[in-house]
Symmetry: C2
Subunit: 213 residues, 2 copies
DNA sequence: ATCAGTATCACACAATTGTGTGATGTCTCC
DNA sequence: GGAGACATCACACAATTGTGTGATACTGAT
């Protein structure tokens, strides 16, 4: 059977060596190269075919996120597993959006790491259970917003915000709510003060942040 | 030991009866009421103390999401478990933001359901593993956006979007990027067309949606 | 009964945004 | 070495947004 061609990228030489040593012992894996930043990864991919790419999240020059986006664009067949020491839930959510297939903590056991590479090669998703939990927590106990800081927004005001968010003009909002444009303008004015924003863009962003719409 | 006071809300009478029958059999649970929509739930809570609320996601008049928000605001101590038949990943993410403590599929086994109620009562998070997977999938294979539909946005344009999102005026953006206001206006014009939006509000929202900023 | 909060409207004016059209220099890629 | 994408700028004008100030009316709570 064809060996799985693996490329490892990490800015710490020691970790790079360690990973290589571990993975080389498995007879179904073939570590065909290493890189210490995203640019090197892209260079490598131009000349060699890679099945699975192990990518450190924190790297200088081009980090894991950015690298993933570039690799996915030019070499969509490469399966990318993100390695991270990060246990903050907040970042994890965004990790899921860039197109990698797996996310493992660096302290994952050898066995699980190797199995993860094989799974990823077959198109299976690979996620450290610890990371999954963290991610859920970051969603559940949304730390993005401190409750006390949210001012009271009335129903009517929320209606206005929602319509603004849908790209309605003041005139259109007035028509939709059967009030005058002056009234809508007043609502907006009040909202700007309450929400401490300068314009509709800021207002809509905060409203989304606060889960108002 | 005090029994756990449970309120069940679902618009299907049959499911309501079924759940009640199942839960009543457990001697540590006490089903003190049922409701068929969110308004009834709120009414009930005004007169009775409830420990755990089982809430159907799909209900007429006031659905699970909305109900949860209201309940959490007025009765923050009530532990809410959302029941759902929904297996679309997309909705699940938003479920995590409204403050419920658990999310279970309706076809969960009796045993797991009862255990879930007990766990929720103790403040533990309760999530069907199936739902967890779906949620991750919805993040990984983000269906919110069809890849092909995202137009090419240049670096410079993204810089402009970011500043707009931070409530910069055109003049301020021009100063920040050392270009004329005309240039900024042109970038915006081009972006509006590319992104198919009518104004900055829509643009920033889409940019956030697409993970550009 | 009074007060705070909400919702409504008016008028006027300044500031900003958005549109239409056209132009120039610099890239890269084939 | 031309085509196309990108970034830059100008000028003019329409449309919309944002601000300042003041007013009326309804409601619910003290």
């Amino acid at each position: 059977m064809e060996k799985i061609k693996v490329l490892i990228a990490d800015d710490h030489q020691i970790l790079l060596d360690g990973l290589k040593a571990i993975l080389t012992k498995d007879r179904s894996l073939n570590v065909i190269g290493t890189a210490c930043n995203g640019l090197e990864v892209l260079e490598f991919l131009k000349t060699e075919t890679v099945d699975v790419l192990l990518l450190d999240l924190q790297m200088p020059i081009m980090d894991g996120l950015e690298t993933t986006m570039h690799v996915k664009k030019s070499f969509p067949n490469v399966k990318i597993i993100m390695l991270t020491t990060n246990d903050e839930g907040s970042i994890i959510t965004s990790l899921f959006k860039v197109g990698a297939i797996g996310y493992l903590l660096k302290n994952t056991s050898k066995k699980y790491l190797i199995q993860g590479i094989k799974d990823a090669h077959e198109g299976k998703k690979v996620i450290s259970s610890h990371l999954t939990e963290k991610m859920i927590e970051s969603l559940v106990e949304n730390p993005k917003v401190k409750e006390g800081t949210i001012p009271k927004i009335t129903k009517r005001e929320i209606e206005v915000i929602k319509l603004i968010a849908q790209e309605y003009t003041t005139q259109e909002i007035a028509d939709a709510l059967f009030v005058s444009t002056n009234t809508v303008a007043t609502h907006k004015r009040n909202l700007f003060v309450k929400m401490e924003v300068k314009n509709s863009v800021g207002m809509v962003r905060k409203a989304v942040d606060w889960g108002l719409i």
